[in-house]
Amino acid sequence: MKDDFPTPPVRDELKKRVVETPDGQTIEIDPLRDYYCQSAPTVMPAAYSKIVEGLFNWARAESLWILGFGTGCGAIEMRPLMTPRFDAYRYGIQWRPTPRQSNLFVISGYLSVKTLKRVIRSYEQMPNPKYVVGLGSCTINGGMYFDSYNTITRLDQYLPVDVYIAGCMPRPEALLAGFEELKRIIRAGKAEGANQYAEQFDWYKANQKRVIHDWDMPDYNW
């Protein structure tokens, strides 16, 4: 597709500016350069020893820390998972409030373009073996919102997805089954989404930029 969108103007808070600090110094701030770190992700190798990597993979599978970011309507079925009937804590699944401490991103439902931008930032901030579960039909092919101007139709164009859970909306049992499937993949050492993201970084980035018209952040920010 021809990229015929003009570049929108840079936001005020991202422009270069000269600031006087409280102690009287004058400094120049270039937010895009100073506030973010802009270097592409690298492929991070597995541990040298196969046994160690196996142990790590087992531990990763048994301790899935979900980022507490309800991106869509699927978030409503995440709550029963934390509570008595389904109690996902039994399987080592916990919710963490910051991206730094979580290693599983559950994209709970459709992603609007505005959310996609935040999702990419959150995803890039998560530490390296990181997994993405696409929840609901709308992450697979758009589902009910296949013709909406504001929701993406395929999640795997923008982020590497490990497991899809179909349904609208998927039941908590389906979620638990999906997490078990993810655990199986991790234990087998096949869930290398973060490395795949690093390898095909340019492709992902081009896809993301085609959708997000006002790309006012660095290409990679962790």
């Binding site: 597709m1 969108f5 003009p6 758009g142 929701t151 395929r154 959708v211 018209h213 006002d214």
Partner: protein, 176 residues
């Protein structure tokens, strides 16, 4: 409703009253009279609650219809005030000083229909969409399916069809 209409026509050049239900009616007013009508309704007639403010795009006739739906809580009835606007360039005076919550509606209309409300707070900021540069999406001449197909790279294998045509082919495959 009819008595209210009779009272209002004394002071304002109103259009025909459409009585949808005993407690709901719609009336058209020229845009110059809108503000004074709303003020009159709010202060004299007890229509204190602005239920919604929205627009309808009559593309074929070439104008926008703005609907201000007012609710009188004590008498339990609603009056919808319609205003017709030229479609291009669409602009309307703001009523955010009458109801602070109207500013939100006006931001949405500015973004979704491209109707300008000069003076309304934060009206030019992004509200729902971010960095949108195409036709405002709620206008009738914006084709959402075409846009989605172009931008979002749909997964191959998914087809959608017109339901009437599809059922016709399913039920009567031999007829064209």
């Amino acid at each position: 409703m009819r008595d209210l209409y009779d009272r209002l026509t004394m002071a304002f050049p109103l259009g025909e009253l459409t009585e949808q239900r005993p407690d709901l009616a719609f009336v058209t007013v020229p845009r110059e009279q809108l503000r004074s009508l709303l003020l009159h309704l709010r202060d004299q007639e007890g229509f204190t609650h602005l239920v919604l403010l929205t627009a309808v795009d009559w593309l074929e006739e070439g104008h926008f219809q703005l609907t201000y739906l007012m609710n009188n809580r004590r008498a339990c009835r609603d009056l919808g005030v319609r205003v017709m606007l030229a479609r291009d360039p669409a602009s309307m005076e703001s009523i955010h000083d009458l109801w602070p919550t109207a500013a939100t509606y006006q931001r949405e209309l500015r973004e979704m229909f491209g109707i300008d409300f000069p003076g309304s707070p934060r009206v030019d900021e992004d509200f729902i969409l971010e960095g949108w540069i195409r036709t405002p999406p709620y206008r009738r001449d914006f084709d959402t399916l075409k846009f989605s197909d172009e931008v979002f790279a749909p997964r191959p294998g998914r087809a959608s069809s017109d339901p009437a045509e599809f059922m016709k082919q399913q039920l009567y495959p031999d007829k064209t």
